[in-house]
Amino acid sequence: MSESRRQFLKIAGVSLAGAGCALPVARALASSAGKTPDGKQWAMVIDVGKCLEQEGCTACFDTCHAAHNVPSIDDIRHEVKWIWKEQYEHAFPEQAHAYTQTDLKGKPVAVLCNHCERPPCTRVCPTKATWKRESDGIVMMDMHRCIGCRYCMAACPYGARSFNFRDPRPFVDGMHDNFPTRTRGVVEKCNFCAERLAKGEQPACVLACQKQGARALAFGDLSDPNSEVRRILETAHTIRRKPGLGTNPNVFYVV
């Protein structure tokens, strides 16, 4: 073969290989669009004092788990929970101390995914099966895309994520068709009731807390200065979980 023909084939081969790589790269770059100027940021404020007034209340978790066909699995290794109660010392290890005030010490606090502003979970997901939605700041799960690698579970500083170690369906009490279940092998977590927000409704836990009487959960758009969450944040003393990590959680606690 002549030298020029060989040169041509070499260049053609390399160009083809390069073009082949271009498509996924282009797609990756295209999807990193900036935040829309009128993007919301949903946030929640949990008034711990008000919540504790209703001793033994489980309205928020019961309603959430029922609304989303979340399985109840006894084996603690395979537990799936979107919102649950955690002892104050475990929820706020950086703030709790030996002389924590009596009305907080050892008390249960509702914890859930914080839908952080800088979520480490979305940073590590290799398929963008979990990502932070630009339109409303919700850290979403795409169950169709999740490969079940559980990297996000390793990255979450709050233990907010659960994995389906087995088929959840046998453990779903009262399965209904208003919301899908999940299947074995995918990660799930609180989604701030994105499906209800899309219809202009409040999240299930917030509504349940209002109905059951404690009225401890407030929900709203952080970027709207007139929202309920902003009003509370302006006057009440609030803390967040593990603030030193810089994740900027969007779930605030009035303590």
Binding site: D136, M143, M175, H176, T181, R182, A198
Partner: protein, 126 residues
């Protein structure tokens, strides 16, 4: 030819393995029953034409799931202008009723496994 016996045996094994999807699928009884679709009683038209749905319902559902989950876009405007909620369980099965009477009829005949119902909850009846 050299090692003729081994070559023929190897070829036969290879063909059997390669054709596995064909003869395994045809071995089940389901594949003999031609689809017997029960059409919905409450609507006369699907969201799009039958030809379109036959050819592209999988692409449509793919688009829907990305639109709903990833973009938060839940409204589907059909070619005839009618608006629908992008939901497999509520819109599609809202008319077509049970998956056994509709989806499974064709899918079992063709041997195409569905993973939708591992997560999506199919309403019963209708």
């Amino acid at each position: 030819m050299y090692d003729g016996g081994k070559i023929v045996m190897g070829l036969a094994a290879f063909i059997a393995l390669a054709a596995f999807p064909v003869w395994y699928a045809n071995a089940s009884d389901e594949s003999d029953q031609k689809p017997d679709l029960v059409l919905p009683s409450n609507e006369t038209e699907c969201i799009e034409s039958t030809e379109f749905m036959r050819a592209s319902h999988m692409d449509l559902l793919d688009d829907w799931r990305d639109a709903v989950v990833r973009d938060g876009e839940r409204e589907y405007v059909a070619t005839n202008g009618r608006k629908w909620d992008k939901s497999l369980s509520r819109t599609c099965l809202g008319c077509h009723g049970s998956r056994q009477q509709f989806c499974d009829e064709c899918h079992n005949y063709l041997g195409v496994d569905l993973t939708c119902w591992q997560c999506h909850v199919a309403p019963e009846g209708n």
